[in-house]
């Protein structure tokens, strides 16, 4: 069999139904092979390789499957780097296949040759270069196994052109295990007992959950633990969706622009139980003043995350799907009415100072918050919210009503502007029947706006909501608060977005006053097909609460 056919046959064997990519010289044999298998594997041609990889990420995040993308050598491959780094830091399972110049040309500065092994190494969980046809199947099998098992991550497989055109024997064998890589860690029951003892004696226990719950498919186990333990629970950015926000134990969101109570009370709990989260600096604020009073229990799969940032009292290594069950068995049922009341009281303060301003503004200008508020009225329970990076991301996260798992797709760790539009496309293409709402800012959308073309071509019914303040809003907010209002290069002269969307045959509507907002959002959801809604929002509004850089979680500001 020809190497290029092996690539496609391997992808089919791994049940990759949908892949994203962009052809070019060094990957052409694989594209030629795809032509023969179009009934078994669907390929989406994006308008830029960055679009392809973010689409694959969006697809992976909503489906739980491995996202796949294809690109050619040189610039095609280097255009994947941002997406690789993004997927790696957010633990998104991804396999990227890049073409490479023929093996005999490696290292000669051949046309479109770049050292992809070297360049991608710091941004991947694993990478490999394949120079012989017979090595293609095993490399792809190993790549998929590594991408999806353990803590998921990004894999890059660089295949030289000669390997794609040469012939060899092909018998696909999925990878099961290999000696240098451990994916399972048996939960240490003695540690579970220690953790349970701490929790059973606690007066103000507090649970923080992150994306590890979603990646470990432990949503039900988290719910059972919370119901029995009665412990208040807060979510990280990427943990949102793992627990319905309507659950009585749910107290809100953590981090720089999270909720007031969850941040502030981190420094008042006596036992802090962190589940599948990694104490990102945006969550902890000043580490020297983070939860110093608390005994800390960490349920975590990745051994390198344990004691990396926060020193734990008890660390239970393993999948939280298993450790949560054991911990649920070991704890006694309790309730914490006084402790819970503290959260609710602070929540009221946040409502008065922040939420009222955001959701029921008295000024004429629309706020980002009220747009999300209206979206909540029409969205389905399992609607996916895809956001870019900046003010709109934090506001959408704050006010979107998360009810189901895998409804949150955003660039968390890397903070990649331009992520949302292609990621929303990928999320939508996984399931046309599911609502996918893409909330973007006027800065970020212009970084990957060419993907409107892919939305046009695929007819993916993405609902794009552009919150336009003609600013790089988050940077402007920081300039206002920390740089003496010196608005250095943050104001944008924008194109006519409506004309632009219409040029791509996408139905578009612009709203700039409150009276027509609700109807416009309703129209957007009713419309059968992609929709572009531009909402002109207050030009200089800020996101609060906020923990300023260098501040402690207890110094979270309401204004």
């Amino acid at each position: 069999m020809r190497g290029a056919d092996m690539v496609v046959r391997s992808l089919i064997a791994e049940q990759a139904e949908l892949i994203f990519g962009y052809p070019g010289g060094a990957i052409m044999p694989v594209y030629d092979a795809l032509y023969d298998y179009h009934d078994q594997i669907k390929h989406v041609l994006t308008r830029h390789e960055q679009g392809a990889i973010h689409a694959a990420q969006g697809y992976a995040r909503v489906s739980g499957k491995v996202g796949v993308c294809l690109a050619t050598s040189g610039p095609g491959a280097t255009n994947l780097i941002t997406g690789l780094a993004d997927a790696q830091i957010d633990s998104t399972p991804l396999v990227c296949i890049t073409g490479q110049v023929a093996a005999h040309l490696l290292g000669t500065d051949a046309f479109q040759e770049t050292d992809m092994m070297g360049i991608s190494m710091p941004a991947t969980k694993w990478n490999i270069q394949v120079r012989r046809a017979e090595d293609i199947g095993p490399a792809i099998a190993k790549g998929f196994y590594i991408a999806r098992t353990g803590r998921p991550g990004a894999v890059l497989i660089d295949i030289t052109k000669n390997a794609q055109v040469e012939f060899g024997k092909f018998l696909y064998e999925p990878c099961q295990e290999f000696r240098s890589y451990k994916t399972q860690y048996p939960v240490d029951l003695a540690l579970v007992e220690e953790a349970a003892t701490l929790l059973n004696a606690a007066e103000r226990p507090y649970l923080l959950f992150g994306q590890g719950v979603i990646l470990g498919k432990a949503e039900a186990e988290l719910l059972q633990f919370l119901e029995k333990s009665g412990i208040p629970a807060a979510s990280t950015l990427l943990g949102s969706g793992a627990l319905s926000e309507e659950h009585p134990n749910y107290v809100g969101k953590l981090g720089m622009h999270g909720n007031y109570a969850p941040n502030l009370l981190t420094n008042q709990c006596d036992v802090l139980l962190a589940v599948g989260m990694r104490f990102d600096d945006r969550v902890t604020g000043d580490l020297s003043r983070y939860a110093k009073q608390a005994k800390i229990i960490h349920l975590e799969l990745d051994p390198s995350e344990i004691n990396k940032i926060v020193k734990t009292t008890v660390a239970i290594q393993g999948n939280c799907k298993e450790s949560l069950v054991k911990l649920t068995e070991a704890i006694i049922p309790k309730i914490y009415p006084d402790w819970m009341e503290k959260f609710r009281a602070l929540e009221e303060q946040e409502k008065e100072v922040v939420v009222q301003h955001d959701l029921t503004p008295t000024k004429a200008g629309l706020t980002m918050g009220e747009v999300i508020h209206h979206i909540n009225r029409y969205k389905a329970d399992d609607a996916v919210l895809v956001t870019d990076v900046g003010q709109h991301q934090m506001i959408a996260w704050r006010y979107f009503n998360y009810k189901k798992t895998r409804t949150q797709v955003t660039s968390g760790g890397l903070g990649t502007m331009g992520f949302a539009l292609p990621a929303a496309l990928g999320a939508q293409l996984h399931d046309f029947s599911r609502q996918v709402i893409c909330v973007v800012g006027d800065g970020g959308i212009q970084m990957t706006i060419q993907e409107l073309g892919t939305i046009m071509q695929t007819k993916a019914p993405v609902k794009i909501v552009l919150l336009n303040n003609n600013y790089l809003g988050m940077v402007r907010q920081w300039q206002q608060l920390f740089f003496d209002k010196r608005y250095s290069f943050t104001e944008l002269d924008n194109p006519d977005f409506i004309k632009l969307a219409e040029a791509y045959s996408i139905k578009a509507l612009k709203v700039s006053d409150r009276a027509t907002l609700d109807e416009a959002i309703e129209d957007m959801f009713i419309h059968d097909g992609p929709f572009f809604l531009e909402v002109v929002v207050e030009k200089e509004d800020n996101v609060f609460p906020m923990i300023a850089t260098g501040s402690s979680v207890e110094e979270v500001r309401l204004h």
């Binding site: 092994m117 070297g118 190494m121 710091p122 969980k125 694993w126 990478n127 270069q129 590594i146 000696r179 240098s180 890589y181 990745d302 051994p303 390198s304 004691n307 990396k308």
Partner: protein, 166 residues
Amino acid sequence: MKRYTLFVIAENFIGILNRITIIFTRRGINIDALTASESRVPGVHRITIEVTATEETVVHLVKQIEKIIDVIKAFHHEDSGVVYQELALYKIPSSRLDGGLEKIIRDHHAKIIAAEPDFVVLELTGHKEKTRELLELLKGYGIVEFARSGRVAVAKRMLTIDSFVN
């Protein structure tokens, strides 16, 4: 800050050394010395890295190294936990050979491993302090070249490579 020896047992795949060293690069940590060689198990490499850092940093580094997919095991020891040696070579112009130099060679248990018309090469095996001491003395004899290997070390702990590989 202390001196530590990191041991890495890894599959002998292309790029493994790069994967390990970028962990240090990213954190701005200098590698004092590094040696890589085959282990006694075919296909398995052992890499010995000498680094000066805090215990906390070293623990973090070891975890990051062990996270590399093709790394089988990584661990670290302080100097007291390892038996180690370094090898140094010194090239001296033959014209400078005299009774004084011969005495130095004898006193330091160095060996002459090559004698050419123009130069002689001395070899000394020992810890850094010892090989450096000889270097200082040879500076008075017009030394033209000096090379020292990285640390070659074995741990004192009685763990065999088989317990990681199987």
